[in-house]
Symmetry: C2
Subunit: 391 residues, 2 copies
Amino acid sequence: MRRVAVIGGGHTRFVTHSPNTSLELLAEASMDAIANSNISPKDIQAINCGNVLGEFTDGQGMIQSYLADDIGCNHVPATRFEGACATGTIAVRDAAIQVAAGVYDIMLVAGVEKATAMDTPLATRTFAMFSDSRYENPAGFTFPAVFAMLCHLYASHYDIPLETLKEQMAQVSVQSHYYGARNPNAQFQKELTVEKVLNGPMVTTPLQLMDCCPFTDGAAAVILASEEMARKLTDTPVWIAGTGQASSGHLASQSRYLPRIRARELSVKQAYKMAGIGPEDVDICELHDCFSIASIIAAESLGFAEFGKAGQLWETGETKIDGKIPINISGGLKSKGHPIGATGVSQVYEVSRQLRGDLADQGRQVDGAKVGLVDTLGGDGVIVNLVLKRD
Amino acid sequence: MRRVAVIGGGHTRFVTHSPNTSLELLAEASMDAIANSNISPKDIQAINCGNVLGEFTDGQGMIQSYLADDIGCNHVPATRFEGACATGTIAVRDAAIQVAAGVYDIMLVAGVEKATAMDTPLATRTFAMFSDSRYENPAGFTFPAVFAMLCHLYASHYDIPLETLKEQMAQVSVQSHYYGARNPNAQFQKELTVEKVLNGPMVTTPLQLMDCCPFTDGAAAVILASEEMARKLTDTPVWIAGTGQASSGHLASQSRYLPRIRARELSVKQAYKMAGIGPEDVDICELHDCFSIASIIAAESLGFAEFGKAGQLWETGETKIDGKIPINISGGLKSKGHPIGATGVSQVYEVSRQLRGDLADQGRQVDGAKVGLVDTLGGDGVIVNLVLKRD
C-alpha cells in the first residue's frame, strides 16, 4: 500500500441560513481545495462526497454526480457516503484506501450539509432518523436525550457529583468558543463564560443549551494524493498514517459498556496501530463534541485520560494550545459548527492546517505539531479515526 | 492488487408491499449470503450497504450500523453508499477494491429498498430528487420523461420509424417477462405479449406502462473474499475481473452526446481493459433496463451491437439464453423488479449464479457461461460496470 497525503483543502464559512445551495457550497469548498493544491479540476481522478440530508434540504440526492459536472471533473467516478455525523470522515478514509491501493493518484473528498435549511422541529425529526428508528427514537430517545443519559451514567459510574461534571462540561464549551472566536470559518465567533453556560436554557437535564452543538450550513473539501504526486505538488504533505472504523449499532446493544463507547476504542486502536503511535504521541486532536459530555467521553476512549478523569483535562487547561493534548482548537462542533456531512472533512482540513503550521496568524497554532488525530462519531456508535502526520 | 471473488449470495423475493422493514429484508438476504458462503457472521470484516430512500420509507438512515449489529457482525466498519439506481453496484465495486487492496479478506455487500412503502405520487417525487433538482426535474423532466425523450432522440438520430422502435422495445419487455416468469425471486412472474405491451396505458409518449420497470421492495447480498479465502471456502469462486465507474452529471451537459451515454462508454472501457476482454467475450449480461429503451441504448454502449441497431438483437432472439449475447436472463428490472439500493447487488448475485451454472432447474441457465457483465445506471448518468469470470 502506498503512502497517502492530504495536499490541500478548502472550507466555506460555517453559518446559519446560508443563501447558497448544497451544491454551491460543495463547489466553493472544492474549488478552493483544488486551487490550494496546485492542481486543476482535470487532475482529479475520482470524488468521494459526504452528504446526509440533501434530499430534505435541497430536494437533491446523488449530489456527487452534479458536483463532478459543475466543477469540471467530467466523467470521473463520484461516490456518495452516508454515515450520519461520521459521513465526511468515512468518505476521507475510503478515499485514502483507494489512493493507497493505487486505484487513483489524486482524489477530491468534499462534504456538505445545509442543516439550517430545515427549522428546528424538522431538523430534530430528520436527525433522529440516524438513531434506531424501531425502538429508540420513537420513545423520545433523540440525540440530546442519549447524551443527557450518558451524563447521568457517567456521573454515576465514576462517582462524580453531577454538579462537578456540569462544571467540567461547561469548561469544554468555554474553550471551544475561545478558539472558535479565533477561527474565521466558525459559525459562532463569540466567547462564553462558565456562568453563561450554567445559566442557559435547559435542553434535556442536565444538558443546557451551551452544552449542545448547533445546526449548521457549510462545506469542506480536501485533496488526497499518492506520495509520488504529493512530492511534486507540495512541500508540506500531511500523511494519512493510520485509519480505523467501527460500528456499534443501537444503544440498547451497548448497554453493558456505556458510558464507554466500544466502537471508539476499537477504531482508534486500529488507527494508532497502523500509524505506529500511541495517544502520548498526539500533538493535536479534533474530536466529536456534539455535546460537551461527548468530548469528555471521547478523550478517555482515545487514551488522553484515565476513564472518569477527562473532565480534569479541560479544568486544568491541558486541552489548550500549550497544554498536554490540545483538543478542538478549531472551536469544534460546538463553536465552529456541525454541518453533518461536512464535519469529518472539516476536521481533516483543520488538523492538516495545524500540522502545516498555517494558523499562527489566527492565534491558535499548536507550535511544532507533528501528529494529529481525527475522531468522528456517527449516530449512536459509528466511529472513524484518522492519524495524520507531517514529515 | 489481489484477486477478489464473489463466493456466495442471498436474495429476498422482490415484491410489491413487503410486510418487512428494510432492516429485516437486509438481514434476510445477508444471512442467506453468509450461510451460502460457508462462513459465519464473525468472519465478516466489513460491510458495504446500499440504500437510497430509507429515510423516507423506514424513517431510518445509517441502516448499515444496525444491520451489522442485528446479524452479529459486531463492531465491523459498516459503510452506506448512495448513487441512485447504481447504489448497489457502487457498493460492490468499492468492496472489491478494499479486498483487492488487502484491507479486508471477507466483506458483505448488501442492498435494500422498500420503494412501494411510498405510494406512486410520493415515490415519483422522491425518485425525481436523483435527477437534477435545479433545472431539470422542476420542469417536469422526471425519469419517464427523460427516457421518453431518449426514444424520440434515438428514433430521429438513427432514422428509425418510432413505430418500429416501439415494437423492438416491446420485444425487450416480452423477453424480460419470459425469464422473470422462470425466476422465483422475480416480482412479476407472468409472461407478456407484444400486443399487450403496445395496447397498454400510455405513461409518457412513446413509453407505455409495460416499457417501464416497477417500484419494488427487496434486498440482495453477496460475500466477497480474497483469493486465498475464496479457495478455502468454495470450489466455484466467481472473480471480479474488471470494474469501471463514471459520472456524467445532469442531462443538459450531455446534450451533444445523447442518445449515447458517454459515462457508460468510459466506464465499460475501464472494466473491459482491466479484465483483458472485449464485448465479444461476454457470455451473460445483466444491464440496466429501467425502461425498455434503456436496454437498447445500453447494449450499444456496451459493445454488443452497432449504434442504432441493438433493437434487432431482441427482435432476432440474440439476447435469449441460446443467443449471441444473453441479456437480463433474470427478468431484469422490468420483471424481476427494481428495489433501487438492491438492484446492483442483485445483478451481481444473478450473474455469479449464471457463471456457477446454478440456474438449470429454473430453465434459464446460459450453458457454459464463463464471463459475465454487470451494467447499472444511476440517475441521469452515473454508470458502474463489473466484469465477472469463473475459472
